[in-house]
Subunit: 170 residues, 2 copies
């Protein structure tokens, strides 16, 4: 009997189900990123790292992981196991006059308006054609159509690290 | 019988104990930030926001909160209740050549080496002389002596927000 790994978008549990028929049924409903709805639990996930993009993006970022992802990052486990989901949150990068006054010079930037949230969700069989990853973006809480192959193309330089750029920051 | 609020540095629970004697005993051992040891649980706390400091600091930051702090931030509750602990992690702000290649231009910065971790822990009675907050800094996992009054002086511009600069980023 073939087993399938089913993961929950809220990132709490990874469930092994023993029936292929059942697995497909459950997977269709629960795995992957629901494209019509921003996953409700991701904002409680733990921190993997932070980043800052200049240029047109001009944002500051946090990269969070569900329990499966965090455990793998901390163990240095690659490739990441099925069920791992990474959320990249970004906000506009804005100067803080209040913080500048506290520091006595213009140097402080904080998170402003949210820009978008991107997800990578690992299911090595379902998304075999894109490195085992599903990619999704939400802007203003709404799913934005993206080309997974396009996402993967950008992530190719990190192929040896399972297409994930971010490293865990202790 | 007077009750005392005891909070755990790992941020999991807030415990009301009914005996003053017991409370003092437990509080001495468990409340506040243990000055000899970096709290082991803070890295699992949830994200409040992120920030970036230029200048001599040249760091990128994550601000995490224990359960009491996160609940208060999300509810917009000020002042923060006793038991709230905020952790400010910082890492060196380093450019990422790998990310730059993916974006096609020099624009990417990521978290490098950890610099230090600072904590604010709320106990309105124990730390009444410093706005109800204990302040602590750890560098390389070791406690670094700091003057709480000095910390408070820098945080004074945020007095109307209970001396906390950071706002919650959704």
């Amino acid at each position: 009997m073939r087993q399938a790994l089913v993961f929950d978008i809220v990132g709490v549990t990874a469930v092994i189900v023993g029936s292929t028929v059942c697995a497909i049924s459950v997977a269709d409903k629960r795995t992957a990123i629901h494209r019509s709805e921003l996953p409700s639990g991701y904002r409680d996930w733990r921190l993997i790292s932070v980043a800052h993009e200049e240029g047109n993006l001009n944002d500051i970022r946090a990269i969070l992981g569900n329990d499966v992802a965090i455990a793998a990052f901390r163990a240095g486990k690659l490739p990441l196991p099925d069920g791992a989901i990474i959320a990249r949150l970004a906000w506009s990068h804005v100067s803080s006059a209040e913080n500048d006054r506290a520091f006595g010079r213009a140097q402080s930037f904080v998170a402003g308006t949210p820009t978008n949230v991107q997800f990578m969700a690992k299911d090595s069989r379902k998304y075999a054609s894109t490195g085992g990853w599903e990619f999704a973006q939400f802007t203003g809480g709404k799913f934005v159509a993206i080309a997974a192959q396009g996402c993967l193309a950008c992530h190719l330089p990190a192929k040896t690290r399972d297409y994930v750029f971010t490293s865990y920051s202790p």
